[in-house]
């Protein structure tokens, strides 16, 4: 153990500044891992359990001693490091690193809601804690991604130490070439410290996985004092310009102080970081202590985990004119008998055991329009899935939907897809072609010339004013749309009813194209045939897209 520690310290020492600097940092309360990362030390050092302040202190003193030839009779052996520790204890009664506030020290009282204990700091216990919380959430995992959030006060601490070192050591040769951007970020150092152990314990690899383990560190005390410091700068900057406003605000709410405190708390970490980085060095040194005060409070940790949204995609067919695409509620009353959204989303949520689902489709049809033929591409987005459904699970889900009693909806080509399917569904959405069959009536008998003139249509441009039926919620506009082709299919026994098959650009309002919407869609079937045309039924027969065919 002692040899391990010595070898790590001696390897690291090559990248460390002269020992008096390291000792200075140590006595200012910086932890070993933070010292390492400040000076950009890479590698597997971080996961080593023996990186304690007293250890490094002992090592450095020993090294110093050797260099200065003061060390006399082999007293400086790591074999008796325990004695050395106790002798130095008084210097290290401060428990938490003044930069990372304990994050890289893995203290036991880190975890929210648990009292402090006097046990040793340990990575293993830390990893155990994480694994415990994952087990409670009961996720099926195939890997993980470590997400870390730290309070902005850490950035201030780091900068404060750099400013401190610059002031003190700027003239020393080693300080040249050292700069803030060489350092390893706290988040990366934390990952370096625990990833290997986590991988081993969970027996899965870390990487760009959709299963996220979130370590959220907070330190309300330090954050509050940081906000207060920043407020001082702000108020001095803005005093002249905003003085009057402030007075007004206080007058209005009667209790201005409380109000501003609430505002401060709601300010996001990103905004605080931005504010911090916008401070020039001079102002920074003015408002922050160099080096920062020793920390008496550690950060608190919240461990959560979740699965990034999972997608099940396919195409759906809708056979009912009383089923809407999405759940449609007006004044607490459901419109229609069911919705595709629920029929498809509910079983998807079940097989993934997720928290909730969202239904997305490539376009939509009215409730009284059936979706036949190829079906319409859709995605069900399941958030925080506990299960990763297999192909068999998905096929079973499809069978269940397709054999349901009411047969409102069928699905095809159902599969688990990546989030890139989202883009596939959106690609060419405006240009994609859609094919319809409409049952049309005209005010006079159909002639052979009508068949001719209709089937001669080839990529005809029409102009559609926003239909009256949607004008209340959509912008009044005139849109150009393309009718690619049309074909009349006669209905035996009728001269005025016929089936109109047509293929149009996405976004064409078909009902209006047939009856003309009081002349607001032009040309229309009515205007082309110079008679009154009415539409009785409409079905989508094909959505021509490359996705999920």
């Amino acid at each position: 153990m002692a040899d391990d520690a010595r070898s790590i310290f001696s390897r690291a020492a090559l990248s460390l500044p002269p020992s008096h600097v390291s000792l200075d940092l140590l006595s200012s309360g910086v932890c070993v891992r933070c010292i390492f990362r400040l000076f950009g030390i890479h590698g597997d050092f971080y996961s080593c359990p023996f990186l304690t302040g007293p250890g490094l202190n002992y090592f450095l003193k020993l090294q110093n001693g050797c260099q200065a030839s003061i060390s006399e009779n082999g007293h400086g052996s790591f074999g008796i490091h325990k004695c050395s520790y106790t002798s130095e204890e008084s210097d290290f009664d401060q428990k938490y690193c003044s930069i990372c506030l304990g994050i890289l020290q893995f203290p036991h009282d880190l975890y929210l809601g648990e009292g402090s204990s006097k046990e040793n700091f340990s990575i293993d216990v830390f990893v155990e804690k994480i694994v415990e919380s994952i087990k409670i959430a009961n996720h099926q995992i195939d890997g993980f991604f470590l997400e870390v959030s730290i309070p902005p006060v850490i950035a201030a601490n780091e900068r404060s130490f750099w400013s401190y070192m610059k002031k003190k050591y700027d003239s020393e040769a080693w300080f040249k070439n050292k700069a803030l951007y060489n350092q390893i970020s706290l988040k990366d150092a934390l990952r370096l410290s625990i990833t290997e152990s986590l991988e081993k314990t969970l027996s899965v690899k870390s990487g760009a996985n959709s299963f996220h383990i979130c370590l959220a560190y907070t330190n309300s005390e330090a954050s509050l004092s940081l906000k207060n410091s920043l407020r001082k700068v702000q108020s001095s900057n803005r005093r002249r310009t905003e003085k009057e406003n402030v007075v007004k605000v206080v007058d209005q709410c009667g209790n201005g102080q409380l109000d501003s405190r609430e505002q401060l708390c709601s300010k996001s970490d990103a905004a605080i970081l931005k504010e911090l980085s916008s401070l020039d060095d001079h102002t920074f040194c003015d408002i922050f202590e160099l080096p920062p005060k020793k920390a008496s409070n550690s950060c608190k940790l919240m461990i959560t985990c979740y699965r990034m949204p999972m997608f099940i995609g396919g195409r759906y067919l809708k056979f009912s004119r009383k089923v809407s695409q999405t759940l449609w509620i007006i004044d607490d009353e459901r419109m229609g008998e069911a919705s595709v959204e629920e029929i498809v989303g509910t079983p998807a949520l079940e097989i993934c055991r997720g928290d909730s689902y969202k239904f997305h489709a490539a376009g939509r049809e009215d409730i009284d329009v059936r979706m036949l033929g190829s079906g319409r591409p859709f995605l069900v987005e399941v958030s925080n899935a506990r299960c990763l459904p297999s192909m068999v699970d998905v096929v079973q889900m499809a069978v269940k939907i397709n054999n349901s009693e009411k047969k409102y909806v069928m699905v095809r080509n159902l599969k688990v897809v990546g989030s890139e399917a989202w883009n596939l569904m959106r690609v060419g959405e405006a240009e994609k072609q859609k094919q319809y069959a409409a049952l049309v009536w005209i005010s006079r008998p159909l002639t052979d010339e009508d068949l001719q003139s209709i089937s001669s249509v080839n990529n005809m441009e029409i102009s559609q004013s926003t239909p009256i039926r949607v004008l209340h919620r959509r912008s009044p506009l005139e849109r150009k749309r393309i009718i690619h082709w049309m074909k009349i299919e006669k209905i035996v026994g009728s001269s005025q009813f016929f089936l109109l098959h047509l293929c149009t650009q996405a976004g064409t309002y078909i009902k209006e194209f047939v009856h003309g919407d009081l002349g607001r869609t032009f040309p229309s079937i009515g205007s082309l045939l110079a008679c009154r045309a009415e539409i009785l039924q409409l079905d989508v027969t094909d959505v021509k897209m490359d996705v999920f065919i």
Partner: protein
């Protein structure tokens, strides 16, 4: 894994099943002729509730208000309107009503910016028939979303289909304003009853 997916995807639809399915789809599309009405309800009839304002401010100034379920009102000349019953019918339509030209302001956006707020007696346009100018009024308080500017070039639309392509304007009343004014209008049934009785004399009254 990839191959497994392929087979699982394709298996539900063999080519035989596909042709059966096509047949089924055709059967779905073709309606049963016996179910079809001889003359179906028109889009106007099925999408709007029809109201009438008769003798609006002046005798025989009969207008219709077609109200869509979404609250929008289409305003136009009822068949018994004096202008439609003049010899030669309507000859011109002018949306320039003094202070503003109703056809010039363009309403934009979902929130209908630039919409003019009109009162029931606000003029929408003048229609000229046989040398006489008739003022067409708004009938309902609300925002003017659009006027039928095709009437400027083609006033004949009023004589051919005043209840369809010959509409005058589209108004968006507030729901409360609509409730206040709605009862002052005649229903379609009451209107036909009333104007059938007097339809012969209405035109001559104005002259």
């Amino acid at each position: 894994m990839a191959e497994g997916q392929e087979t699982l995807e394709k298996s539900p639809l063999s080519s035989l099943e596909k042709s059966v399915e096509d047949e089924e789809r055709r059967a779905l599309l073709i309606p049963d002729f016996s179910d079809l009405p001889s003359i179906p309800r028109s889009a106007v009839e099925s999408n709007f509730v029809r109201y009438y304002a008769v003798d609006f401010l002046k005798p025989a100034h009969d207008q219709y208000i077609y109200r869509h379920a979404n609250g929008l009102c289409v305003i136009g000349l009822a068949p018994s309107h004096a202008a439609l019953n003049e010899v030669g019918g309507v000859q011109s339509v002018d949306f320039n009503v003094g202070k503003s030209n109703r056809s010039e302001l363009k309403v934009t956006g979902k929130r209908k910016r630039n919409a003019q707020h009109l009162q029931p007696d606000s003029a929408l346009c003048y229609v000229c028939a046989d040398g006489t100018y008739y003022t067409v009024r708004c009938c309902v308080k609300g925002s003017l979303l659009e006027v039928n500017d095709r009437l400027i070039k083609n006033p004949e639309l009023l004589n051919l289909a005043a209840d369809r392509e010959g509409y005058i304007a589209i108004i968006m009343p507030k729901p409360t304003d609509w409730l206040k004014v709605k009862d002052s209008f005649l229903s379609y049934e009451d209107y036909t009853k009333l104007r059938h009785q007097v339809s012969g004399s209405s035109a001559s009254n104005v002259c």
